[in-house]
Symmetry: C2
Subunit: 225 residues, 2 copies
Amino acid sequence: MAIKLDIEALLAHLPLFRSLDKTQLVLMAQASQEVRVAKHGFVFHRGDAASGLYVVAVGGIKLAIPSANGQEKVIEFFSPGQAFGEAVMFLDKPYMVQAQALEDTLLLWIDKQDIYAAIDRDPSFARRMLAGLSLRLHALVQDIETVNLQNASQRVISYLLKQPREAEHVQFPFNKNVIASKLGLTPETLSRLLHQLNSKGYIAVDGRDVHILDVPGMEAQLYGR
Amino acid sequence: MAIKLDIEALLAHLPLFRSLDKTQLVLMAQASQEVRVAKHGFVFHRGDAASGLYVVAVGGIKLAIPSANGQEKVIEFFSPGQAFGEAVMFLDKPYMVQAQALEDTLLLWIDKQDIYAAIDRDPSFARRMLAGLSLRLHALVQDIETVNLQNASQRVISYLLKQPREAEHVQFPFNKNVIASKLGLTPETLSRLLHQLNSKGYIAVDGRDVHILDVPGMEAQLYGR
DNA sequence: CGTAACCTTGAATAAAGTCAACATGGGTGG
DNA sequence: CCACCCATGTTGACTTTATTCAAGGTTACG
């Protein structure tokens, strides 16, 4: 019971559910189930049937495409408050990505049927859902742009500039391995490029901490060459 | 008047609008406007505000990301019956892609407000819309997979195998230039790879016509190496 | 029949990947 | 609390892959 209340509060301030009224929110909260996944554990694998959507309550998730030879291409990260797995829910196709916990993670899972019910009850929920998918699409197109139209160094620069930063300080939220895959690079190449940007005085790297020293210089690299 | 009737019939058998009842369909048809675009003409540019969605009635459209140095990365093609431009409509962001006619094209344009109205009136329309976006997302993820996890030759092979074919015969629907960009290759590389697949006996190329000769062999290239 | 757009081919180059060795360092168990 | 160890990250030498640049060939179409 106490748990149910927590869930309701949690859902209440997610963008996706923000437009729901009290009654609807209670329904959603009741429909939610807690799912716990240990670090490195899988929420689902490629090929699994998609039966609902997940919301991250605590922890972090990465979505990735696995490849035959053990590599993987990281598609997206999700942190608390974000939903994933919604896209495939609306198709009758299995997941083509896998979802893996980057740390010990607590998720909420909501069944497809309950989502459909909410859509039918409340058009503005449908709009939120549509906006959510659109945002995802937008992000993917940006990724495609990055991988296809920018060289390795530019990709690293735009990644760094896109990260939220406080006082010109940025922190890699995960293994550089994982970041490299997101950028479509090998870990070796990422390492070398960071070193190179460091040498040129654009950034100062210290482990996962990066100080951005020369934003205009970096931006010049993005457009100039 | 006659035109309006045509529009209604056209809309009636699009997946997106198939669930609408007669009344709704009439409303949609009334909300639609014809847009004509000559070959190579632009429907919209990157940076334009998104104010509605387009449906291809006749012709063909390509969506692409333009880059600074005059290149572009082709994202998707649309043929009669398909809708595009819906994704960004739900965000308040400008287009990040441009839409260009591959041939003389007739489009229908439906204003955002009319789409929203339809969503509010009919939850099953909302579902169609969601399914449409999901499908788009799915396709993009597949593209990301192709570009990141397959080498140039594998990309060409999977493109060929994915194309609809009759009696092992496939035809490039557009300039090889455009296909190359979709695959994330230069035209030169595409040309060389087709030649190579030809030499190896996997395919027989004659201009835009390709005969697929050895499907198992090609599939082996996809997984084997 | 001529011209422009499209496509192919070759040689040289550059960019990033691979493989392998080594460094670092955070966490755990002794 | 220290030492060891495994996961993570770095560096170097070499290789591969696809691009670039340039020239020439083809094709479709006015």
